[in-house]
Symmetry: C2
Subunit: 162 residues, 2 copies
C-alpha cells in the first residue's frame, strides 16, 4: 500500500471494489444454482450478470486516468463469499439455505453500496466527472438490486424454514 494522495486512495479503493466485483461475478452463478426459491435464484443471477458489466465500467475508469486495472484482493468480500460457500456446502434444508443465502446477498449489496458511495464522493472531489458518472450508474444498479432482494418474500422463505 503506497497511498500519498486522494488520487492514490481513490485508485486503491477502486482496485478493492474491482476485485470484489470479480469475486461476485465468479461466485454468484454458483450461488444462484444452489437457490431453492425461483425468486431468489433469479435475483442472484441478475446480481452476478450485473457484476460483469460493472467490471467493464471500472476498467473504463482505470483507462481514463491511465492507471493499470489490477484487482487488489478484497478481504471483506472474500469473507462474505466464504460464508456463502459454507452455507451452500453444509446446509441441507433448502429453505434454511435460502434464508442464509438471501442474508449473504444483502450483506454483499450493502458492502458495495457503502463503497460506491465513498468512491463517488472522492471522484467528485478529485474532479473526475467521467468516473463519477460511471460510478453513479453502478450505484443506481446496486440500489435497484438491493430493492429486489428486499422485496423477495423473506417471510415465506423463513416460514417454510422455521
Amino acid at each position: 500500500m503506497s497511498i500519498k494522495s486522494m488520487k492514490d486512495l481513490f485508485f486503491h479503493s477502486l482496485k478493492d471494489i474491482y476485485s470484489a466485483e470479480k469475486q461476485i461475478a465468479k461466485n454468484l452463478p454458483k450461488m444462484a444454482k444452489a437457490a431453492g426459491s425461483a425468486e431468489l435464484r433469479s435475483a442472484v443471477e441478475k446480481h452476478g450478470q450485473e457484476a460483469d458489466q460493472q467490471i467493464e465500467r471500472l476498467e473504463t475508469i482505470f483507462a481514463q486516468r491511465d492507471v493499470a486495472a489490477r484487482p487488489l484482493r478484497c478481504e471483506a468480500m472474500d469473507g462474505i463469499i466464504s460464508e456463502a460457500k459454507d452455507l451452500m456446502a453444509d446446509v441441507n434444508d433448502k429453505f434454511v439455505r435460502d434464508a442464509g443465502m438471501l442474508s449473504v446477498a444483502q450483506a454483499i449489496k450493502h458492502y458495495e453500496i457503502s463503497r460506491y458511495g465513498t468512491l463517488i464522493a472522492w471522484a467528485d472531489q478529485l474532479g473526475y466527472q467521467d468516473a463519477s458518472k460511471l460510478l453513479r450508474e453502478i450505484l443506481v444498479e446496486e440500489q435497484a438490486t438491493d430493492q429486489i432482494l428486499s422485496r423477495i418474500d423473506v417471510a415465506a422463505i423463513d416460514k417454510k424454514a422455521a
Copy 2:
C-alpha cells in the same frame, strides 16, 4: 458449521456478529487515536464504546436461549479491520488517512446494519420477542452512528486531502 434449522442459522449468525462486535470493540479505540479530525475521532470512539454495550446485549440473547456465547470468527469484519490497520500504518498524510478511515467506519456500519436487519427478521419469525427487542435497540444505535458518520464534514476532510 452444523445448521439444520432456522434456530441454528439464527445463532450461527449471532455468533458471527458477536465476533464482529468484539473485533470492533478491540480495534476502534486504536482507530480513534489515529484520527486527525476531532469530529472523526469522537465518532469512532463512540462507535467503539457502543460495541461494548452491544456485546452485553448479545450475551443476554444467548443466555435467554441457553446457547453458549461463542464468537465465530467473522471473516468479513476481519477483512474490513485489516484494511483499517493498513491505512493507519501506511498512510502518512493525516487528511488522506482520515478520508480512508471514515470510509472504513462506514463500511463497518453498513455491514452491521445489514446483519442486524436479518437477525431481527429471523428472531421475529422464531418468536424470540425478547431477542428481537434487544436487536432492535442495537439497530437503532447503529443507524444513529451511521447518521453521525454521514454528517461528518467529509467534503472538508476530502478538500484538505486533495
